[in-house]
Amino acid sequence: MTTTPVPTRAETEAMIADVLAQYPKKAAKFRAKHIKANDPEGSKECEVKSNIKSRPGVMTIRGCSYAGSKGVVWGPVKDMVTISHGPVGCGQYSWATRRNYAHGHLGVNNWTAMQVTTDFQEKDIVFGGDTKLEKVLDEIVDLFPLAKGISVQSECPIGLIGDDIEAVAKKSSKKLGLPIIPVRCEGFRGVSQSLGHHIANDAVRDHVLGTGEGTFEQTDYDVALIGDYNIGGDVWASRRILEEMGLRVIAQWSGDGTINEMASTHLSKLNLIHCYRSMNYICTTMEERYNTPWTEFNFFGPTKIVSSMRKIAEFFDDEIKAKTEAAIARYQVRFDEIIKAFRPRLEGKRVMLAIGGLRPRHTIGAYEDLGMEVIGTGYEFAHKDDYTRTYGMLKEGVVLYDDPTAFEVEEFAKHLKPDLMGAGVKEKYVFHKMGIPFRQMHSWDYSGPYHGVDGFAVFARDMDQAVNSPTWDLLEAPWSKAGEVA
């Protein structure tokens, strides 16, 4: 069992300095603001700068605005056709790879795992793509009669060639009789996926929010589940808990969600937000427009699940509180079982993370429930408020890295020798070569759910599998580099 403690702040700072020394001066200075040894108090000198442009050439792990809007927010809305508007690539690379699960038949009443594109050709660039877009909208309605709406996700060229997709959307929406939402999420906008989330939220706000009048009787227990994209079925596992607390989820944003749910969310009594980063905007909007309260929660791992359940229950009456406690009591049995099985196998293991959204902090508790310790973490596209929420969750000296480069992640791992690395598919195989157990923490490595009670079991099993795989014993050949056998 690994017992190396978390380095001290000074040690971490030395490590950071070591790594930064290898950058050109300008980049080193820039990156220095983004990499800090943690101070749980969040003191000024440890503040991590964020939401700033990546330096060219460093191999950022970030994506773009389109990825944030199409991939994250809009793509999962299952009964809408999402057009990747522009050249073929963006839609191609983001086709069916995010694992935002949804019910329905693909191409009939579910378009989540499809790649629908205007496939721009040179002439569309030269002469503009509005005519093509209009034609594409017609053809979509023709071929997909059950589509409840269409979103137009702009790729880079749209904003550069002066297309007026708002006008086309407006005209076609009227003509075709269904919502068509233009989204200005060109990849060059902003510094990461994050602006894409914001733009996408704004498009929902401007075109969808409040347009539905509900197809259901309202109750006092109506809540909306915001910021869960149903990776590997996450939202279903979370919804189960809320329902067992006695609440009624009238909308999912946006995993396995529908436009009708989004349009009716203003009827919610409380908005529950899991991924704060990508959907705080719409919560604020609803708070402003409809006075809907909202609260953050964390359904990763027993500790956070239980405290989140109680926090949510506080918004409701005693009946809900009673049901919540009853549910907690039931869950505790399962939690104990899972922890009994897996904690002895994971106790003391040290984890490094480099991911997006909520996970660099939200999963910390779940790891701790299994006896594991997060010794380094960072966000791909966080803002200051994300770090503010993070400092206090980690020990002093833990390295924090914002928008880490491939170089940094590898160097820190070489220094810290974590027992487990959690990042994305671009990073995964690097760590395989290095012999460091790895889990993809965007896609759950094709597993999941990781949310909720059912998800925690899967999370624990997967971490065990990664850390305790016999594979890692095989890396070294039993002969010298020169091929000499003993």
């Binding site: 994506g63 690539g89 594409v136 259901f216 995964k428 070569k433």
Partner: protein
């Protein structure tokens, strides 16, 4: 008791997404959620589903002119990245928005299960207005410091192309500003995403690399090591089978020829797990690239893909150019082997003849199961042509042939291949169509087998047709790309996969009495 008590290495059976949601509590949850979704009724969904499987829908589907659904193609810079990864110490740099490179790296990583180093110039709004020269210069500075490449291969995204970025002068600026040294090798290619597809991006980037290397200081014929062996350039193209690169090398070496694989990513996309991560584990050496023009001939093995590279060799290098179909299957490989023997003036060694005979033997063994099976084939044009020729050799009957990124020459090439066989006359060739078209084709005119990338898997499931995975991308099966599909060895791999896919399906559907022990 016939079993002792024991503890299990796996402490708890855990149900994940494949199973956990079958539970009643979830089924009820899903049912109840329908109230908030306000979707079409189940009957209506079923009705539309059925309708999408009809000839009527097919006609409507083929009538579309602007909409593209599930195309089997990607964009140019993806191909450019692969070309870069085929050379020693090369770090691809893509000039434009940074999201693109993230996508390229993920896309390849999902296929190869390998790290894919590539950098972006990370252009944003300001660069869109003022141009990205500073981005490119700083990128080169940072790359040099952090990743220490021996060569940078620059390509562009649509953003850079729309605003008209001038790579040539920017690279000059990078040298001037000492981001890189004056003689540091940089190659470049303009790869707009709105022209062609990934195969064209591969082509122009490869051309760019070969062009720049062939003008480098290493491009000196006198530096070539003396040897009796004839040196031949083999250019596989956008070929995602790392086993193919090795097979070309092995075949030529068997024939006593010195092979230079131009664009050899077989090391960089199949590196060992040995405790250390090597950013640059191999590739065509820069020296080999530089001297390539002095070799006796160049073999172009993807005709549609490698147009511009062929032009370089023919027009600039003035080198003997041998253009062949990708050597898949018996006659495909025969043509390759014969051409190599002829060009290099060598004999075909007995070992290759033996391998050939063994493949033919294997084909005769499996003939009864593949013969007459109706297949649909989709993928990149060169691969589809070669695969079609192979399945015709086997007596399979191609029915639907789709290549989204095929150009005008494709139909003629395909028709030549089809008309050469009695088994070709049932085929219809569909250049520029996508996989939503293919879905209609397979629903209305069913086939026994789909042949193509992972992207056909949904059609397979919907139409209950087994899918034999060949091509790119294949994200959902492992290691297939590590074996060759070219040469006689590759033919055996393909045949084995094809026939056993058919036999699996036969067993699966067999009535109990027909669940035969021998096939």
């Amino acid at each position: 008791m016939t079993t002792p008590e024991h503890t299990s290495a796996i402490p708890l059976q855990v149900l994940d997404h494949n199973d956990v949601f079958r539970d009643e509590v979830y089924q009820e949850q899903f049912e109840n959620k329908r109230e908030f979704e306000n979707g079409a009724s189940k009957e209506e969904v079923e009705r539309v589903l059925q309708w999408t499987q009809t000839w009527e829908y097919r006609e409507k589907n083929f009538a579309r002119e602007s909409l593209t659904v599930n195309p089997a193609k990607a964009c140019q810079p993806l191909g450019a990245v692969l070309a870069g990864l085929g050379f020693e110490g090369t770090l691809p740099l893509v000039h434009g928005s940074q999201g693109c490179v993230s996508y390229f790296r993920s896309h390849f990583a999902r296929h190869f299960k390998e790290p894919v180093p590539a950098a972006s110039t990370s252009m944003t709004e300001d660069a869109a207005v003022f141009g990205g020269i500073n981005n490119l210069v700083e990128a080169m500075d940072n790359m040099s410091a952090l990743y220490k490449p021996k060569h940078i291969a620059v390509s562009t995204t649509c953003m850079a192309e729309v605003i008209g970025e001038d790579l040539f002068s920017y690279i000059g600026a990078a040298r001037e500003q000492e981001a890189i040294s004056q003689d540091f090798p940089v190659s470049y290619a303009h790869t707009p995403s709105f022209v062609g597809s990934h195969i064209n991006g591969y082509d122009v980037m490869l051309k760019g690399i070969l062009d720049s290397l062939s003008k480098s200081a290493d491009a000196d014929a006198s530096k070539i090591e003396k040897s009796d062996k004839v040196r031949l350039n083999i250019i596989p193209g956008f070929d995602t089978y790392v086993g193919n690169h090795r097979e070309y090398r092995r075949m030529l070496e068997l024939m006593g020829v010195h092979p230079i694989i131009l664009g050899d990513h077989s090391a960089s996309l199949d590196s060992p797990a040995d405790g250390e991560y090597d950013l640059y584990p191999g590739g065509t050496t820069l020296v080999d690239g530089a001297q390539a023009k002095f070799n006796r001939a160049s073999f172009i093995l993807q005709e549609s893909t490698l147009r511009r590279t062929a032009e370089l060799i023919n027009d600039v290098w003035k080198q003997e150019l041998v253009t062949l179909e990708t050597p898949i299957g018996v006659t495909g490989t025969d043509a390759f082997v014969t051409a190599v023997a002829r060009t290099a003036d060598v004999k075909v060694p007995a070992e290759l003849t033996l391998e050939r005979g063994r493949l033919v033997d294997a084909i005769t063994d499996s003939s009864a199961y593949v013969h007459g099976k109706r297949v649909a084939i989709a993928g990149d044009p060169d691969l589809v042509v070669a695969l079609t020729r192979f399945v015709l050799e086997l007596g399979m009957v191609p029915v639907h042939i789709v290549s989204t990124n095929a150009d005008s020459t494709f139909k003629a090439r395909m028709e030549k291949a089809l008309s050469a066989s009695k088994f070709g006359d049932a085929a219809t060739v569909w250049p520029e169509k996508d996989l939503w078209h293919l879905r209609s084709l397979v629903f209305t005119e069913p086939v026994d087998l789909l042949i193509g990338s992972m992207q056909l898997k949904w059609i397979g499931r919907e139409t209950n047709t087994p899918l034999f995975r060949v091509g790119f991308p294949i994200f959902d099966r492992h290691h297939l790309h590590r074996f060759p599909i070219v040469g006689y060895t590759g033919g055996l791999h393909l045949l084995t996969g094809l026939v056993n896919t058919i036999l699996d399906e036969l067993d699966r559907n067999a009535p109990a009495h027909s669940y035969d022990a021998v096939r």
